[in-house]
Amino acid sequence: MSKLTFSIGGIHPHDNKISCDCKIEALPLPSTVYVSMAQHLGAPAKPIVAAGDAVKVGQVIAEPGGFISAFVHSPVSGVVKAIAPRKDLAGNMVPHIEITVDGDEWAEGIDTTDTLITEIPEDKALILEKIKSCGVVGLGGATFPTHVKLNPAPGKVAECLILNGAECEPFLTSDYRIMVERPKEIVIGAAIMQKVLGCRCVIGIEENKPLAIELIRKAIAELGYANMTVAVLKKRYPQGGEKQLINAVLKREVASGCLPIDAGAVVQNVATSLAVYEAVQKNKPLVTNTMTITGDCLPVEKNHNYLFRIGTPLSFIIEQAGGIPEEAAKLISGGPMMGKAISNIDATTVKGSSSVLYLSEAATKRKAESACIRCGRCSDACPMGLEPFLLNRLHKAADLEGLEQNAVQDCIECGCCLYSCPANIPLLDNIRIAKGQVLGVIRARAAAAKAAAEAAK
């Protein structure tokens, strides 16, 4: 089968998978963890423990704060020291539960062995309940609660579960490592989600990961899953973007303003699939994840893939990995295209943490902006078919109507425009602001329409 890819835009940055051969190592436990209440998309979780309570690993410490929200579990055993606001990665104050670690005693009922459990429960409601109670969220970046995504609104039918193993962001290798080291668990996790959705499954992996493709294929064959295939994708960014992946695999587009399910697709990351396996088969809540320590100014031997406890402070991980390298000018949590710059290394890791990336000044420092030469590289690169040069101009003219007409709200913030701009114009910075304003207008309009409808009754 030929290699698949999406049809509009895209770029080809160097993949720099320096840490791809670093086996996953379990990171030691820190002395204190800080568990954020806002580590999923949606409403923050509500703490159900108080200072002084003793907790075990995997014990629920916070409940969902709304329909789109998730349970949070203790990643360590110890004593709750405080529940207080603390700065997150970006410097925003978010409530955290601070736990002093005194050991590694797991809560009852959690299977911590490596035994592979292949038998999948028959009861869909039970599966969904387990996924929900284990606090599983999407680990591909958005951290959307998985049980919500696996339970489509009435009338919407999933035709295909797409498992995202593209890992198209340069540098990152955590998804690759779990695909190589735990292919069977991932594949069983996918089969569990297939059972809930009642559809076929395609696992999309980029061509630069031949070993992962081979091992996942082998795992599917050995487990005898008939309705599951691997699709080899071209190396191209943002192949792992939800809309782009659906386009690559199904040759369909998700209509503007709609969800993947409207195109018959549900996309889940391979790391999420592993978390689903652990939740459903092992009763193990999402308290660990894999992260990559890498960078362009880090010698190969200092690269790592760590299995970390969620809530471990970044500073502890950085220290364990040998400190910040001399040449590092920017620290990034996540990939170099969509990750967030770390302004505060005392911030804590969350469910969705995927890396600490060190970039040198030469690689990452923004260059001075010059005049737009209308070369059109930004529109060629935009995977949503937008015209970033035009959106930038409209933003400067504060033309919200024009921005909406030209679909600024469809921007997925992948960064291809700014990456491609020869004049170093901060296109995405401006488009983000404009997108926020236009979404505000759209929401206000919807609210006004709703109020008018109510009043007419």
Binding site: S256, K330, K367, G385, Y419, P422, L428
Partner: protein, 328 residues
């Protein structure tokens, strides 16, 4: 921790591309054609190139420094490209002061008065060429026959292939009659005639254009739609009456066709952003240039065609957009 770190929104990487690197690629692409014309026309051509580039850069530097009082933008090399293209539009015998006037019109009027790089509506080099052609027709059509290197051209007043054909047809002759009377075949006819510096070296220009395509500096659709339109129109007309209408090969390889289509019509600033817009722009240039060549009073119309279509670009940019994901 004493060390301060950079913090900025994503993306944190940038493609290794800049305005300067793109302009440098265009300059590299023009090198083969420049060498060919210097070899054919000798030192005089080299002088025209040097003078044109230096004047364009100098005019831009003076304007940014003394009129706009802004940091100089000559480092982006766009003035060098304009100078190079302007030189390619001039005969080797052009006096120095005409070149200087050309540079002032190209950079001062067509580019900087609109706000500099990226703001101009008309292609600077073509604006200057048309200005000079209308203002100083005798100097601008003082074509010398090919001389070879080191021989100083002695200003034999010749005419371009397009010019002589137009004259011959105008005096009631036909194309085959003209070629027979002057003991020429269609091949030697093309080789022997004088032309602007850039026109003769179509092959060298196409070679440079392939380099730009490979480096992904420009896209092919504008030149391809120009060439296709020219071939179609000249094919139909020359089939109907080969005695007075020149054919596709002649029309592609004479005049400013290749230079204009590959290097002037593809100018980022003055061409449409969308693919469909670019195709319409290219077809428009093709139609206008053939209408001028067949029915106009000027023998060549490439510059006029590009300038006219430059006016349409803002409209094409409003009417045509790229296909958006998830939208009709």
């Amino acid at each position: 921790m004493g060390k301060s770190l950079l913090v900025s929104p994503s993306p944190h990487l940038h493609a290794n591309v800049s305005t300067t690197s793109l302009m440098r690629d265009v300059i590299i692409a023009l090198v083969p054609a420049s060498i060919v014309s210097v070899l054919f026309y000798g030192w005089a051509a080299l002088l025209v190139f040097a003078l044109s580039i230096v004047s364009c850069v100098l005019v831009e530097w003076v304007i940014t420094k003394y009129l706009m009082k802004k940091p100089s933008t000559v480092g982006d090399l766009s003035a060098v490209v304009t100078g190079l293209l302007l030189a390619m539009n001039l005969p080797a015998t052009t006096p120095w002061w005409i070149i200087l006037i050309g540079a002032i019109v190209a950079i001062g009027v067509a580019k900087m008065s609109f706000g500099g790089l990226g703001q101009n509506i008309f292609n600077p080099a073509i604006t200057a060429r048309v200005f000079l052609l209308i203002s100083f027709p005798s100097y601008m059509t003082n074509w010398t026959a090919t001389q070879g290197f080191i021989s100083r051209p002695d200003a034999v007043s010749g005419a371009t292939p397009l010019g002589v054909i137009k004259e011959a047809i105008g005096s009631g002759s036909t194309i085959p009659e003209y070629l027979a009377a002057n003991n020429l075949t269609s091949v030697t006819f093309l080789q022997d005639m004088g032309a602007s510096l850039g026109e003769l070296s179509s092959i060298a220009l196409l070679l440079g254009f392939v380099y730009l395509l490979v480096r992904k500096v420009v896209k092919a659709w504008i030149p391809v739609s120009i060439f296709a339109t020219v071939i179609l129109i000249s094919g139909i007309f020359s089939l109907i009456n080969p005695d007075i209408y020149t054919g596709p090969v002649f029309n592609i390889f004479t005049g400013g066709m290749v230079l204009g289509a590959c290097f002037m019509a593809t100018d980022y600033v003055t061409s449409p952003m969308s693919t469909l817009g670019g195709i319409i722009y290219g077809v428009g240039i093709g139609v206008i240039v053939m209408m001028i060549r067949y029915f106009g009073s000027y023998p060549e119309g490439m510059s006029f065609a590009i300038l006219i279509m430059n006016c349409v670009v803002p409209l094409l940019n409003i009417w045509f957009h790229q296909k958006k994901y998830g939208r009709k």
